[in-house]
Every structure is written in structure tokens, then in C-alpha cells.
């Protein structure tokens, strides 16, 4: 396609990016090679994304690093891979669905490790054998995965110096550095006979600082920016890396992370800490969120700010722990007993995990309410090169009672619904935080008047808050709109660009604040829209159902949805968008 592009015109994203998968048995070093390839791409001025995938084994088994490199910021995988480099074939056939090879692409394997599996051969992709292990053996101290790194770098068109720099930064303390630089060179040289895969564009001139970060780390950094200084949590895939990043990070900024005995404890621990005046957060996945719901209801009733990050994975029950799915939405927006208003937010990209988690903390604090952040495995466990997030303005903080405030009532019925929260230790404002229905003073009460007053107060404080313009990303125009949320946003955005290249246009509405739904703002965003397509990664259409429950959508509604574990790809979405827009 790029040959058709007129000089000076910018070719579409899929023609400027290149996708490559590195695969092999666990322990073969594919993840290290993948990480270094991404770092080298960043060094060369590109943006990139690396998705990790592995078999169900805890250690060993098969592993693959799925990498896309582009001159532009990208946060979605492409439809097909231009190259696959397999250090060995072990159980790599299990990744056939996750690594669709382009027929025009190239597949590199070590002939000493056997032939490529039929599932890959069947696609007609060119096979180029390279004796990676033998090449590594010829260099004392070299590793086969560094041969693969050199190969991969050359295939996608990265400069050799960038591969060296990445290896030097990672292996600078290793005695094998020189040997592995030689291995990278040997792999690079072996690729000359193969030619290049894909057509990587030219990197743009760099402007601001760029970061290499995972969504889990970005959410952790956002939490700390927002003021979180206490975290209690229980390990769970795929949220654990966020906790492992936060543990030393919190200690350095004067906070603490506590490993709880279970999620019932973790949510109640953060409620206790926040009651003590310290902004607090926990991170979990669907099963943990389910256990936390009673505690989240307590935070609603007792008006204690907390943030719960749910890194969503395939469900229900244990589901598919290490694969992504957007299937906790219904539970997050509706899954508490009683009438329990709560905040639900979702980052729209890996980069957005930072500001959205920060915003969640600030909203929770300002509104004395629980906030659930719906990240997912795709964002959480993938690494991307992103533009360093700018300093974000503080969106709110907790309203605290003054010492000896006259006639202090913790749950006073105010216009905004927000009432000053006394911090323990403060004289003259002693109160008891209570999950029982209570009076304005916090005394347990089962009277109809008190119950209604406090239900109204808690609903009002969320409904009346000014959330500004961050409730959604709004792009494009036209009389049709695609509505989505979370990690599928990047795929939808790229699909809309592809559809636009075919003359088919639609708006993008990527919701960041899912509850309370901004009905007026959404109505404004959809003014003139006659049909909507709701895109989501789950089985039952949870976003469509949420929107229909909360909002009068245009009558013509379509749904594009598929559960995990496979990602929604921009090409299939572009086809769906074109078909939807051109339907009578």
C-alpha cells in the first residue's frame, strides 16, 4: 500500500508501524530480548508497545513478546505480525491465535530446534532458518536470545547502535556484555540475507521526555501523584506488579504498603487508614473486587474515600487470569448492595493509567467516596513508550474539619452533600464513622427521615460535582459515533483512522468516567448523532447495557463485542465500522 502513497502524504499507521513476535520456551530469554528490542526502538526515537504472553505454567512453558514499533505513539497491536522469531518451537504453536502472521511476513527459526509448526506454515509465510544456538555457541559467553535480538532488530529496521545501547544499559554490570554485543552483531548480520519485514517509518524529531512504562506502574505512579500514602493488598494476577512497584516506591515517599491476608482485609485496611486521614488505595482483579464489595459499601455509607484499582482479567471466577477482558464493568457500576453511589473510572490507554488513577484519588478524596478504577491486563502488564505525562492540576482534596468546630456533625446535610471529615487526633470533633444508617451526627438511626437524608446527601455529592471535560475523550465528527472505554480505545481510534482513509467517518467517545455517567455531557457529545456503535471486550455487552440503563441512546444502536482472551484488532474494527456506517 505504501507504494500508492503520494510523496509528502503521511501513510496510515499500519503502513508505518511494524509488528514482530519473539517466542520460545520459558527460560529461553524471549522476554529479555523483547524488552531490549523495545528499549532499542525507543533509543532510535520510535514509540512502541510490548505485550507479554505466556502459557498457563508458572515457570517454564512457552512465552512470547508481542512488539509493535512505530514513529507515532501507539497503544494497540496490529492485525498481523510482519515477523516471528522463534528461539525454539517448544509449545509455540499454542500462540497461533495470538500471533497471526502476515502472508507477506517472515518467520525465523533455528533448524536445529525443528521445523515451524503447521499452524504457522499454513499461512504461507516465508520461513528463513537461522542457526541461532550454533551462532551463540561460536561466541564464548553469548546467549541465543541476543542472536534473536540482533535478528529481530535488523528485520524491523532498527539501527545496530540502538540495539547496542539498549544492551549496554541492561547488561552493563554483566561480564557477558561484550560477548552479547557480538551476538547481537551476529544476529544482525544473519538478517541481511533475509531482508526486512514490514516498513517502519522514519522517527519524528523528539520533543519532550519519553517514558518506558507499564500500565500497572503508571497507575501506581498516578496513585502517588494523587497523594496515596497507604496501600493494603493481596497478590493477584494481573495486578501484582502494581503492588510490587508501589511497595518500595511508597516507602521512599514516606508511605507504607501492607500485604493483607485476603481482599476482605485489604479493603477494610485502606478504609481504616483513610478514616485516619491518609489517602489510601488497593489494587486487585475481579475475584478480589468481588470479595471487597461489602467493604466498598461501608466506604459509601461511612463516607470514607478509597480507591480500588481493578486490573480486569477474563472472568467469571478464576477465568483466564493472565488475559484481558472488560467484563467487570457491570459489577463495578452496579455490584453493591443497597443504594450505593460510587465513582467508576477507566483509563483509555497505558499512558492514561497515570492521570486517571490520580484523578480517581482526587475525586475520591474530594467526594469522600469510593472510586473503582477499571484497568485491565492488556494495559496493566504491557509496556509502552509514551510521552512523559505533564504535571496535572490537582482536581480536588479532602474537606477536613477544623479543631473544635462548633456544633460539629460529621454527616451534616450540606448543599454540596460533602461535609467536613474530622481527622482522628483533632480535638473537639470526635465522632464515630458508621456503616449503620445514621443521623447527621453519626449516631445509628433507623428512622425514615435520617435514612432518606443521608441517601440524598450521598447521591447529591456525586451528582452535583463538576467533573470538567475529562469524563471522556471526544474525537472526530459526523452523525455517527463509536462509544468505547478502556484498553479497546486505542484499537477503535486506529480503526476510525483506517475507516476515514476509506472516506467513512464517525465520532469517537471513549468514556473515562463511567459512573456517575455524565448524561448532559454525553447528550452534548452525541448531538446530531443518529447511530451509535458500542465497542467492548466482553460477552454480554456490558457497556451497551450500562448506557441503555442510564441514558437515552439514539434509537439505532449496534454492538461490536467479543470476550477475551484475544484482543480486538484495528482491522476487524475498521471493517465493522465501514459496514455499520454504510448499512442502510
Amino acid at each position: 500500500m505504501s507504494s500508492d502513497v503520494k510523496p509528502g502524504a503521511v501513510p496510515p499507521a499500519e503502513d508505518r508501524s511494524v509488528s514482530i513476535a519473539l517466542a520460545g520456551s520459558g527460560g529461553s530469554g524471549v522476554m529479555t530480548a523483547g524488552s531490549l528490542l523495545l528499549a532499542a526502538a525507543a533509543e532510535a526515537g520510535f514509540y512502541g508497545l510490548m505485550v507479554r504472553t505466556s502459557g498457563p505454567q508458572i515457570r517454564g512453558g512457552e512465552a512470547a513478546a508481542l512488539i509493535r514499533v512505530s514513529p507515532d505513539a501507539i497503544e494497540t497491536l496490529d492485525d498481523a505480525f510482519d515477523a516471528l522469531v522463534a528461539i525454539d518451537w517448544g509449545n509455540v504453536h499454542r500462540f497461533a491465535d495470538e500471533i497471526p502472521l502476515a502472508p507477506s511476513g517472515v518467520m525465523v527459526g533455528d533448524p536445529a530446534e525443528g521445523e515451524p509448526p503447521d499452524v504457522y506454515r499454513a499461512r504461507g509465510t516465508r520461513y528463513c532458518p537461522v542457526t541461532m544456538k550454533a551462532l551463540a555457541k561460536g561466541i564464548a559467553g553469548a546467549w541465543p536470545n541476543m542472536i534473536a535480538l540482533g535478528l529481530a532488530g535488523a528485520l524491523i529496521g532498527l539501527p545496530r547502535t540502538a540495539l547496542h545501547t539498549a544492551a549496554q544499559q541492561s547488561l552493563r554490570k554483566s561480564q557477558t556484555l561484550e560477548a552479547n554485543l557480538a551476538a547481537i552483531d551476529a544476529g544482525f548480520a544473519a538478517a541481511i540475507d533475509i531482508g526486512s519485514a514490514g516498513r517502519l517509518g522514519v522517527p519524528r524529531a523528539r520533543t519532550g521526555a519519553r517514558w518506558l512504562i507499564s500500565g500497572n506502574e503508571a497507575a501506581g505512579a498516578g496513585a502517588i501523584r494523587g497523594g496515596v500514602r497507604f496501600v493494603a493488598a493481596y497478590p493477584i494476577t494481573p495486578a501484582t506488579e502494581m503492588l510490587e512497584w508501589l511497595s518500595p516506591a511508597l516507602a521512599r515517599v514516606g508511605g507504607a504498603l501492607l500485604q493483607a491476608e485476603d481482599e476482605l482485609a485489604s479493603v477494610n485496611m485502606i478504609i481504616g487508614a483513610s478514616y485516619g486521614g491518609v489517602p489510601s488505595l488497593t489494587a486487585t482483579a475481579g475475584p478480589g473486587l468481588a470479595l471487597m464489595t461489602e467493604g466498598i459499601g461501608l466506604a459509601v455509607a461511612a463516607e470514607v474515600p478509597i480507591v480500588v484499582v481493578d486490573v480486569m482479567r477474563g472472568g467469571p471466577s478464576t477465568g483466564i487470569p493472565a488475559k484481558s477482558e472488560q467484563s467487570d464493568l457491570s459489577f463495578a457500576v452496579a455490584g453493591l448492595h443497597g443504594d450505593a453511589p460510587r465513582l467508576v473510572l477507566a483509563p483509555t490507554s497505558i499512558a492514561d493509567c497515570l492521570p486517571t488513577t490520580q484523578w480517581a484519588v482526587e475525586l475520591a478524596e474530594a467526594l469522600q467516596s469510593p472510586a473503582i478504577v477499571l484497568s485491565d491486563q492488556f494495559m496493566g502488564q504491557s509496556r509502552a513508550v509514551i510521552d512523559g505525562p505533564p504535571e496535572s492540576a490537582v482536581a480536588g482534596k479532602r474537606l477536613v474539619a477544623d479543631a473544635n468546630a462548633p456544633d460539629y456533625k460529621r454527616y451534616r446535610d450540606t448543599d454540596s452533600g460533602v461535609s467536613p471529615m474530622a481527622v482522628p487526633g483533632t480535638p473537639g470533633t470526635v465522632y464515630t464513622a458508621d456503616g449503620l444508617s445514621h443521623t447527621e451526627a453519626g449516631i445509628p438511626s433507623s428512622s425514615a427521615r435520617d435514612h432518606l437524608l443521608q441517601l440524598d446527601k450521598r447521591a447529591r455529592k456525586l451528582a452535583r460535582h463538576d467533573y470538567g471535560c475529562r469524563w471522556a475523550d471526544l474525537e472526530g465528527d459526523g452523525n455517527a459515533a463509536v462509544i468505547t472505554f478502556g484498553s479497546t480505545t486505542a484499537a477503535v481510534r486506529e480503526a476510525l483512522a483506517r475507516a476515514a482513509a476509506q472516506g467513512v467517518h464517525a465520532r469517537l467517545v471513549a468514556l473515562r468516567l463511567l459512573a456517575p455517567l455524565r448524561r448532559d455531557a454525553l447528550a452534548e457529545a452525541l448531538a446530531g448523532v443518529e447511530r451509535v456503535l458500542v465497542v467492548e471486550q466482553n460477552h454480554s455487552g456490558q457497556l451497551l447495557r450500562h448506557l441503555r440503563a442510564e441514558f437515552d441512546l439514539p434509537a439505532r444502536q449496534s454492538s461490536f463485542r467479543r470476550p477475551g482472551p484475544l484482543p480486538l484488532r484495528p482491522g476487524e474494527l475498521a471493517d465493522a465500522i465501514v459496514a455499520w456506517r454504510t448499512a442502510p
Partner: protein, 303 residues
């Protein structure tokens, strides 16, 4: 009755709580009005049945706080759900009345985030040993500086008379006709085996003795567990007989958990007093002064 008639604290190593509020020495030549038990009581009237042991335990708690002369606003009383879990609102301290079984979790978060506060946890046998049993084990293990007072009446009172983990196996009830047939839970042994740093048994019929035990538990560093036999005269009227069964423990407290465990395993459950005062290392995860800024952390992501 006081534990073994001994002057308070005499044979127990006296330690100031490392991370708790400063335990004030008796005022010397100052004119501030001394705090009394009444200084720690709220004006809110308890919902308990007449004759409930919890009235007396509430008074022991406020007496203990008066003995320690802690400013009421520097104390937080945390509870779950149940008759005895109503205590926080009856005190003049900061209170937290959370959900069933999770008081120790909430208190742990509070104490770790706010080590300057004195944190007292109160509740019953169902709340602490059944629905909250896992948190009990791990609070003992973790050894965060909390004082946990359990009012044990061997019954779920708030839901009107169902068997709890400490109910005798043959106690007849609507929910378990003829009795549960289950072995009773032994909270003191479980606490010792799990690593609690201070273990004592009190009796609601002895408010002054129980007050002294609670005061000592608050002073003692780490996780202190005080089981108080607190009769439910409504659903377990036979517990009125406890008054004649309790006695001061015939031995001094030990700092050897195995010795203490052997003793409580073999006694009849009515020995009253401080049974174990240990010296286990305290929880290490409290916040320390910041040595980096959020920007320093973020700089590490920069390419």
C-alpha cells in the same frame, strides 16, 4: 477482684508503647483537671439488655483510658458488628463501627497509617472468632501495636441466640437443635500459637480488675489480646453462674508462649489475669520519613 491480688503491673515488665501515644506520667504539680472514666464516656445510651456484661466492660475500657490519662481524641476505638461492637459510639474517643468481622483489618490499616494514635479494637466472639477468624490469626502474627478486647458470651446475641465458635457443643438452639456437636474454639491458645504479644483473660463481673488488664494491654507493645468473659443474661442466663467460677490465675504471667499455652489448654477457662506478656519484635512496616519525592520516582521511567 484483681488478678491474683497483685498491685497492677508489678510482675509484668513495664514498657512504654513505642509507637502509641505517649503514656503520660501522673501529672506532677500541674493544675490540669485529671481525667476520670467519665471523661471517656459519650452521652449516647447503650442499646444493651439490662444486666448485659458489656456495660461493665465499657466501664473497664473508660477506666483503663483514665488510668493511662490519654487525651480522648488521641484514641480510636474500632469495632465490627454485634452487641459489644456498639462500644465505639459510647466512648468520647474517635470511633469506627465497620462491617462484621473486619474490625482488626480496619484497625490495622488505621494504626499503620497513623502510628501516633492509640488504637483499641472491641467486639464479640462471633465477630472475632468466626467471620473475622482469619484476621485474628494474622493480627496476632503481624504484631501491630493494637489492643483487642473481645467480649465473649458464647452466643450470637444481636441475631437472638445462635451458637458461636465458643458455644458449648451441646447447647440447644433453634438453629442447631440439640447442639452443634462441635469442639469449642480456644481463642487464647490460638492467639498464643499465632504470635500475639500479650494474652489475658478478664471477667465482666470484675470491672476494676479488667480495667487494669486493659490498661496493661494498651501499655504493652505489639498486639495485645484480652478475652473478657461477658455474660449474655438474655440468651445465656446460666452464665450468671460465671461469677462463682472465676478465680485469679494461680500463677504469674510468663514470657514463654509454650508455657502459657500449656496452662490455658489445661485450665477450665475461668483463670483470670494476665497470662502471657511477650517480647516479640514489633511490626516493621510503619511509614518512615520520606527520602524521595514523587518526581524522583517518575524520573526512573524516563528514557
Amino acid at each position: 477482684m484483681s488478678p491474683k491480688g497483685r498491685p497492677e503491673g508489678e510482675s509484668v515488665p513495664k514498657r512504654l508503647s513505642a509507637k502509641g501515644s505517649p503514656v503520660s506520667a501522673p501529672a506532677c504539680g500541674t493544675v490540669a483537671a485529671p481525667r476520670t472514666a467519665a471523661s471517656y464516656k459519650s452521652s449516647y445510651k447503650p442499646i444493651w439488655c439490662p444486666g448485659c456484661g458489656d456495660f461493665s466492660v465499657l466501664s473497664s475500657v473508660t477506666k483503663a483510658l483514665a488510668q493511662l490519662d490519654l487525651p480522648p481524641e488521641r484514641v480510636a476505638v474500632v469495632s465490627g458488628i454485634g452487641c459489644s461492637s456498639r462500644i465505639p459510639a459510647y466512648t468520647a474517643c474517635y470511633g469506627f463501627h465497620g462491617v462484621h468481622g473486619r474490625s482488626l483489618a480496619a484497625a490495622t490499616g488505621l494504626k499503620v497509617a497513623r502510628p501516633d494514635l492509640t488504637v483499641l479494637v472491641t467486639g464479640g466472639d462471633g465477630d472475632g472468632y468466626s467471620i473475622g477468624g482469619n484476621h485474628f490469626l494474622h493480627a496476632c502474627r503481624r504484631n501491630v501495636d493494637l489492643t483487642y478486647v473481645v467480649m465473649d458470651n458464647h452466643v450470637y446475641g444481636m441475631t437472638k441466640g445462635q451458637p458461636s465458635p465458643t458455644t458449648e457443643p451441646d447447647w440447644d438452639s433453634k438453629l442447631a437443635p440439640g447442639g452443634t456437636g462441635l469442639r469449642v474454639f480456644h481463642p487464647l491458645v490460638v492467639a498464643l500459637a499465632s504470635g500475639a504479644n500479650f494474652v489475658a483473660r478478664g471477667f465482666a463481673g470484675d470491672p476494676n480488675g479488667t480495667a487494669r488488664i486493659i490498661a496493661e494491654a494498651i501499655r504493652h507493645p505489639g498486639f495485645s489480646f484480652v478475652e473478657v468473659l461477658s455474660p449474655c443474661v438474655t440468651f445465656r442466663p446460666e452464665q450468671r453462674q460465671w461469677k462463682g467460677a472465676v478465680r485469679p490465675a494461680p500463677v504469674d504471667p510468663t514470657d514463654d508462649a509454650a508455657t502459657a499455652a500449656r496452662r490455658v489448654m489445661s485450665d477450665d477457662g475461668f483463670n483470670i489475669g494476665i497470662l502471657y506478656a511477650g517480647d516479640r519484635p514489633a511490626y516493621r512496616g510503619y511509614p518512615q520519613p520520606a527520602r524521595a519525592t514523587p518526581a524522583d520516582l517518575e524520573a526512573e521511567f524516563e528514557l
